[in-house]
């Protein structure tokens, strides 16, 4: 009986693997066919040599880093404060974290533009860029908040805070010397997911006319044949790299320690 169950389990694993890997393999193989009759990395070379690629990739990279910094500095203290002072509000905040999933990106962008219209943010390219980062912070909210909230639940937030207070620490010291180091892995988890989202995001960047990696990928697909597939594979590789890094840092977290003096 267990043997039969095991066979069925493997059968379903195989079905899912085929469903997932076959299109991926097809895209990969297609991206290798840029030179007629031979398989090679010509499409990848073409993509990597284009100045627009470097430009859009750098802009997305920069946006991802800023988004991670802003969302970390905003969400970690929020999650900490909610757990410490208003634990009853956790369910309400969790509801808020679902909103970015429910509200379509188009609605979010037009909402932001309407809200900030006439404030000066909509008049300059820097202002529009700021709105985009704000929108990305909103998109990252569910991932970063839930990750950090789980991390905070795994440590005794109240007791650690009180222990630090009894030793003379103020809120800044408690946050940066006690809380941040102890939820570091959770922050990294949220950060990498944010990174992957921002690097591939298309709708918001496109509607705000920002030349990031997502719109570049779309633009490329309308003018080239093999290069978009190569770029998709590169983008996917980047996401997998992020996940691998999360795993690596998570495993090493046991050894990552802070020094006080």
């Amino acid at each position: 009986m267990p043997k039969r169950a095991s066979i069925w389990a493997w059968f379903w694993v195989a079905v899912v693997a085929i469903y997932f890997f076959v299109p991926l393999y097809a895209t990969f193989q297609y991206s290798l066919q840029a030179k007629r009759g031979t398989l090679g990395f010509t499409a990848y070379q073409n993509v990597l040599q284009t100045p627009e690629f470097a430009k859009s990739f750098t802009l997305s990279l920069q946006t991802a880093v800023i988004t991670i910094l802003v969302s970390t500095l905003l969400i970690v203290p929020t999650a900490y404060w909610v757990q410490l002072k208003i634990p009853r509000a956790r369910s309400l905040i969790e509801f808020f974290t679902l909103l970015p999933f429910v509200i379509p990106a188009v609605v979010l962008v037009f909402g932001l533009i309407r809200a900030y219209n006439g404030t000066g943010l909509t008049d300059s390219s820097n202002g529009i860029y700021t709105i985009m980062v704000g929108a990305y912070v909103t998109l990252s909210f569910p991932y970063v908040y839930r990750s950090v909230d789980n991390g905070l639940q795994s440590i005794k937030v109240r007791t650690l805070t009180e222990a630090a207070q009894s030793l003379g620490a103020g809120w800044f010291t408690i946050l940066f010397k006690v809380i941040f180091p102890n939820v570091f892995v959770s922050i990294i988890n949220g950060a990498f997911i944010t990174f992957a989202i921002v690097m591939g995001e298309f709708t918001i960047a496109s509607l705000l006319s920002q030349k990031t990696f997502g719109p570049y990928l779309y633009q490329l697909s309308s003018s080239k044949v093999y290069e978009p597939s190569a770029l998709s594979i590169l983008s996917l590789a980047l996401t997998w790299l992020c996940i691998a890094l999360i795993q690596l840092i998570g495993r090493r977290s046991g050894q990552s320690r802070t020094t006080v003096f």
């Binding site: 650690l160 207070q165 320690r257 802070t258 020094t259």
Partner: protein, 355 residues
């Protein structure tokens, strides 16, 4: 002048009064325990001294300065928590040095003080370990060292041994007391374990339902409990319902058997109900204490072997009474159903208030 003084402390959480009418004076270097069941307000009182809770009314002073409204991080009070509360990301040495670093001490001063503390808790070789690499007892010793490294005016301990197993608990409480005596640090210790409180404290505050029931030395609390609650909570005790027979002569009746209680019951009317407490160790059977004193006749209902002591439960007419006898391998304990005569001195009887 008391070093730590709590005056008319009251703490309300919405409609619930956690602590009321709490007055306490603690001398410098004194070790005072708050003893009581869960929810009696002992931890809330401790947290008010620490600054984690603000009293609804009342004043807290340390060394004559009012700290009632001073934030917790400005009070210079060390605290040891039940769950150790060591910072998981810091080594033992860094945990101990944390408070000194926060105070802006130089690296050399911190290093020296940390080394002193590690010597004090005999954990020098564990300096570079992390909390998860230590046992519960070791973690609590580090937490103690961390709390006293900052040279606090008062040390607060919130059930620090509750999470440890019995053997370590006894060893560590002796160690805590020795360190406290050595440093002469004023200490408030919260526990629900009466044996712990009796063994470690200079004075004990017994609390119930947010109020102070009795304050006194361990001997006072154990030998002369003032209320029925203290009598029943501290140690094992027989609490018997009795009726006054002769108030002036100190004679009462328990299940129609008359005994003397060694004190006058001033103001009590004949026939009035009173609560009488007798410690199990104050009773012997069949006139072993020379036939003097009181006798109560009954039959053995149950015999419990507790190691060095055998506890025998005797049924009177409507009530039960326990007595303890040392385990003697050469003597058989009384058999169940055996008729016995319980013998105890009148002075062993304590008349306690009902509240």
């Amino acid at each position: 002048m008391a070093f730590l003084e709590l005056t008319n402390i009251r703490k309300e959480f919405s409609a619930f009064t956690a602590v009321e009418d709490f007055n306490l004076k603690v001398d410098k270097g004194e070790f005072v325990s708050f003893l009581g069941p869960s929810g009696c307000g002992k931890t809330t009182t401790l947290r008010m001294i620490a600054g984690f809770e603000k009293p609804t009314n009342g004043q807290i002073t340390i060394d004559s300065s009012d700290i009632t409204s001073v934030p917790a991080n400005k009070r210079n009070i060390g605290m040891v928590f039940q769950s150790y509360a060591l910072f998981p990301n810091l080594s033992v040495a860094n945990n101990i040095g944390f408070g000194l670093k926060v105070r802006g001490e130089s690296a050399a001063v911190i290093k020296q003080r940390v080394s002193e503390m590690l010597d004090l808790i005999r954990m020098q070789e564990f300096a570079n370990r992390f909390p998860h690499q230590l046992s519960g007892g070791q973690q609590q010793r580090v937490a103690l060292a961390r709390a006293i490294a900052i040279r606090p005016q008062v040390l607060l301990m919130d059930e620090p041994l509750s999470a440890l197993d019995a053997k370590i608990r006894i060893a560590l409480r002796q160690e805590i007391r020795a360190i406290q005596r050595q440093l002469g640090i004023t200490t408030i210790y919260v526990t629900h374990d009466q044996e712990e409180a009796l063994s470690i404290s200079d004075r004990i505050v017994v609390m119930s339902r947010g109020r102070m029931e009795q304050i006194g030395t361990p001997l006072d609390i154990y030998n002369t409990p003032e209320t029925r609650f203290v009598a029943s909570f501290v140690g094992t005790l027989n609490l018997l319902d009795a009726k006054v027979v002769d108030a002036r002569g100190g004679r009462i009746k328990i299940d129609d058997q008359e005994i003397e209680i060694g004190q006058q019951l001033l103001g009590a009317q004949v026939g009035k109900g009173v609560s009488v407490a007798i410690r199990p160790e104050a009773i012997s059977i069949n006139g072993k204490s020379g036939g003097l004193g009181n006798h109560l006749n009954g039959a053995v209902d149950d015999v419990s072997f507790l190691g060095s002591v055998v506890r025998v439960r005797v049924r009177l007419e409507t009530q039960h009474i326990n007595f303890d006898t040392f385990n003697n391998p050469n003597l058989k304990p009384p058999a169940i159903g055996q008729a016995v005569s319980l013998n105890f001195m009148p002075e062993a009887c304590m008349v306690v208030r009902d509240e």
